[in-house]
Amino acid sequence: MGFSFDYLFQGFSIALTWQNLFWAAVGCFIGTLVGVLPGIGPVSGIAILLPLTTVLPATSAIIMMASIYYGAMYGGSTTAIVVNIPGEASSVPTAMEGYELAKQGRAGPALAIAAIASFVAGTLSVIALTFFAPTLAKFAVVFGPPEYFALMFMGLSLVISLSGRALLKGIISMALGLTAGLIGQDPLTGAERLTFGSVTLTVGVDFIAIIVGLFAISEVMINVEQRLSSISKMEVKSWMPTWTDIKQCTGATLRASTVGFLLGLLPGCAPSVTSFVAYDVEKRFSKHPELFSHGAMDGLAATEASNNATSTAGFVPLFSFGLPTAPSMAVLLGGLMMYGLQPGPMLFVQNPDFVWAVIASMYIGNVMLLVLNLPLIGLWVRIVRIPFYILGPLIVFCALVGTYSVRFQTFDIWIMLLFGVIGYFMRKLGFPIAPMVLASVLAQMLETSLGQSLLISWGSPWIFFTRPISLVFMVLAFLSIGRGVWAQIKAKAPEVVTDDAEY
């Protein structure tokens, strides 16, 4: 079933009832808190609140759940920008740019740009969702394992651009990230790998522990070593971005919204992948690529826009096919089923009031989030001026709570500490950190899709070059690799701490 204005207006009339507005506002507020607080990501946030919503009508409950989800994606940028704690892999590029801006006394404009880019991307994605949901859903099902592998392989080739001039170090960083991601059980056969007989290692290494260690803990170590008095001593001149910032970010936001939305339609293509892809695309488009990793406002806007576009795009396969694209979506699917709603093509036919009310509420939710977040910027900005002897221990507390709460295993916090130390030495020795994060996130997805593809093709790798979509991704990946290797061969310089690859 296609789009109809009658249905949309009907949806708005339901979403704009005082009751649904109230629950959307509550969801946005809780979602923002979930994003900002350590320890509860969107998945646990929705899962914890799901039983509490049973007292609400189905539409109000799902409106609230959806608001929590995109509110959390919105709020997740705050800790990444202000204290360099990316609670999710998707916030890593946000931390890379946003924290640098915060150190320059521009935390306010960075938070505002993150909020505005999220709002624009969220709204554009809801418009696309409104008009094209049933059509776009078909895009998701033409993606089989070979296309996924090619996409992940292209994602891994981003290591070239994330490494700057230290290509060998970037590849080593990536290989170390892959090694960490391979520890535990093989996803296809269940065989134990790289566990060295340890039962603890069988569960594998959680990538959140790796990310928090590499960023937050190593940052604390660097700041303590340098006897930093506060993250930024600069006077906060303005909390709002300048027109130059907004002009610089407009193109980035639009491009990243498109990239994030299209990739977000694919099941399994989480914001963690799309934010890196959008960040890399923007680095190539930017007039000032040298500013990337040193506080590039357009890099920050691209990441945040793709993040939110992906979150919204995930509703297309969820509503149209009942396919959850991310763990948070799986919890939302559980919520839908709890209310007796069966996602799939018939949802639009059998429950149009519900679907269109939820879609309409997303327009309202995006405005609510912007209104809610912009006034709070002044509060968040003050955090960077807190003396580091107070902020440092509190960052460690947040990092520990955030890491432990993923699987509630002490092992994960030891991994966080270990990667904190590794991250410290990587920074000192000029190894880029982002490739390690990217590889640890992609490792299992890459291997699973490769294994499934080889099963389909009876072991022939040509399957990646005979299907048009995978061929395009493979060609792009090889071009990216070739370009990086050629640049490396031409540059007869040592692998030093490069200006363009601090992380």
């Binding site: 290989a175 093989d186 303590v224 904190g420 701490v497």
Partner: protein, 154 residues
């Protein structure tokens, strides 16, 4: 490892050795059911990649002479502070399961603020108490997350 060149040679050799360890570990993986992508393939590829890139880094740094940088390692006091910070986080993790999140957080934050700024011990206690209270009431009581509450607050 005072200069970048020496550090890259040493680290490159270390990475190459680590690659050999991963290659060896991948030979120990038992396949179980036959599969088009045996479980040892990826670890083997990654091990070879580490071996090649580590050797490459060491050789490249050894070959390039003339351009070099000094690594800004911390001074003696910096090393001592770093060691204390790492050790205190390790103690925090150990105490987490024994004393619970609120008490372990209270002890860790009090000690860390006091260590980084000796004159602010009263402030350290106040902030630690607030953090401990938040960790107990918000994470353990309100959200019912599975954090250890400790023997006194169970």
């Amino acid at each position: 490892m005072k200069t970048q060149r020496v550090a890259d040679i040493v680290v490159g050799c270390g990475i190459a050795l680590f690659g050999i360890l991963i290659i060896y570990a991948s030979t120990l993986i038992t396949s179980g059911t036959p599969h088009k992508l045996p479980p040892q393939t990826f670890p083997m590829v990654v091990g070879i990649l580490l071996l090649l890139c580590g050797s490459g880094l060491a050789l490249k740094s050894w070959a390039i002479r003339g351009v070099d940088f000094t690594i800004p390692w911390p001074d003696g006091e910096g090393v001592r502070t770093l060691f204390v910070v790492i050790a205190s986080i390790a103690c925090y993790i150990v105490l987490l399961n024994r004393l619970g999140l609120p008490i372990a957080s209270f002890l860790y934050i009090t000690f860390s603020i006091w260590y980084l700024k000796r004159s602010k011990w009263l402030l350290a206690i106040v902030i630690s108490l607030i953090t401990a209270a938040i960790s107990y009431f918000l994470f353990i009581r309100l959200l019912a997350l599975s954090f250890p509450a400790g023997p006194f607050l169970e």
